[in-house]
Symmetry: C2
Subunit: 334 residues, 2 copies
């Protein structure tokens, strides 16, 4: 490192008395090389401390060995576990992960996607994008391979990992479950910008068809964070003290509501029942433990990466991986 500039193939070739191609072949284990020259070249490589330039390689081979992954919030255990799954598969295949954490800010997601194109990464996994279709789709067209998690896409653009029904279908199931258990006034914290979550109006309509009445005022739309859930809980319970159950769009939100409720003197589940979603560790550790929907988060990441690799290796078929969200009955409902 004392020398000013990088050791190149040419340096090695000169020193070894061979051509750059021979060195290149040794480095890449390509073509036929006599054992003698191979070893000789390897010695020189070691002595000079040569390391191939990924930038130069990328330029000529058009491959970066990088996968892009966008998530709205890496701090959310739901997403960090997905990333973990992706990472495991990627690293097996010799790939690294370029992480884009948009921090629940669509503008930032857009900016990041805008500067990452097919010369930066070989493939892209978009998790729960918060961008509207008309800005998202054009940004994806520059890429050779795309996989979407938790959001359906035009089939020619990307393969998808999706919940069996819809991501938000579980809110509907949760409401029915609560109704069956005798709860009458059910509140709902919808997740803002989640394109998969059931919209509030639709939920109300469908439940009405089942004879379950939820009022508009009992619902609110928030970011998928604990803090947002906490604030939602405070407001909902202050404005509508008669609520006897609240459905959170995910565990973080439901747990925030739980904290608010306890602070306000409600007993869970006697005074207020709670249901979340995602089954994060925290959900199982609070008292009472939170009834929620289990989601195979790690597998979602693994499957997304697999679907991406399939696309990257020329499989242009649209493929889908459907996962199930299963109710985990715990103590937050009577």
């Amino acid at each position: 490192m004392a020398n000013k500039s990088r050791v190149t193939l040419e340096d090695v070739a000169r020193e070894a008395g061979v051509s750059t191609m021979t060195v290149s072949r040794v480095v890449n284990n390509t073509g036929k090389i006599s054992q003698a020259t191979r070893e000789h070249v390897q010695t020189i490589i070691a002595r000079l401390g040569y390391r191939p330039s990924r930038a130069a390689r990328a330029l000529v081979t058009n491959k970066t060995y990088l996968l892009g992954v966008t998530v709205p919030d890496i701090t959310n255990p739901y997403f960090s576990t997905i990333v973990h799954g992706i990472e495991d598969v990627a690293s097996e295949g010799g790939y690294s992960v370029l992480l884009v954490n948009s921090n629940e800010t669509p503008a930032r997601e857009q900016a990041a996607l805008n500067q990452i194109d097919d010369s930066t990464i070989d493939g892209l996994i978009v998790c729960s994008s918060r961008l509207p279709e008309d800005v998202l789709l054009p940004l994806l067209e520059h890429h050779r391979a795309v996989v979407s998690v938790n959001r359906p896409f035009p089939k020619h653009l990307a393969s998808c990992v999706l919940a069996r029904y819809r991501y938000g279908y579980r809110s509907y199931l949760a409401a029915r479950y609560l109704a069956q258990h005798g709860y009458q006034r059910i509140g709902y914290v919808h997740l803002t910008r989640s394109f998969m979550a059931m919209q509030i109006d639709e939920l109300i309509t469908r439940l009405a068809a089942d004879g379950i009445a939820i009022k508009r005022e009992w619902t609110t739309s928030r970011l998928p964070t604990w803090e947002a859930g906490y604030a939602a809980g405070k407001e909902l319970l202050a404005d509508h003290p008669a609520l006897d159950a609240i459905i959170g769009g995910n565990d973080l939100v439901a747990l925030g509501v739980m904290h608010a409720a306890v602070e306000m003197g409600r007993r869970i589940p006697e005074d207020l029942a709670l249901i979340g979603g995602d089954d994060i560790l925290l959900a199982s550790q609070v008292t009472p433990p939170l009834t929620t929907f289990h989601v195979p988060t790690y597998e979602i990441g693994v499957m997304a990466a697999r679907l991406l690799f399939a696309r990257m290796t020329g499989d242009t078929q649209y493929r889908e991986h459907i996962y199930d969200e299963t109710l985990v009955e715990r103590g937050s409902v009577l």
Copy 2:
């Protein structure tokens, strides 16, 4: 994208009737360009959908606008929050983050670092590396700028973000705190491979000097995960039922111990006191809430990124950012 190959500077130049340099200048907003040609070129760029190749740029400018970040476990909220902080600063500066999640596997950390060099990223932040010095240091020498989090490095190699005393000093403080509160038989779950955590023997020795006796058998060394803590709790409490307090190397571990203890019929804190470290959300939400050490995790990420940018922009001075870990007294200690 129907066309087989990428639109290049040359395509734009030809179409616009100018040289590639002119186009390049327009793209990069460099040098003096007449308003007329600038606009003309921009039109062509838009029409052709030209996007500069990052690979080609990287080759000639030697800059990738990528920061490498290695963490042992992205699923650990401690690290995902640090990454969040790094990401925020990076994206402000137009940088993206290349994430290496070694999954608590040193071999994987090594493999990943080995294929990421200064032609891949412009700078590297190494968080809580689990690699021994003799394999880690050589891997870092290839990089232009390195920052270490939670592990001291030779000053010429990297700037550092470190806990004021040592990362593991808090275990010592925790033991003293427990002793002051009347606990006599204090167990300790040390974090395996953490280079900053106080070694078990040292902790015992120092505490002995303070008149606090901890037996070797009351301690164990585990991975920094909830599951590992749970297993440790089961074993420690089964083998040494007389323990009246246990210190976890971090919150995840301490919370695992708590769960095990409750399952085994212990009341917290009456039968068993618990102290963790990191102050993750989960710690504040269990019952009773966990006494722990607050760590400014997000700021650690921010500072690490700032120190890295300083190094990348030619500041070769060794710099250090020291953060404090402050005890948060909650309900898991009488």
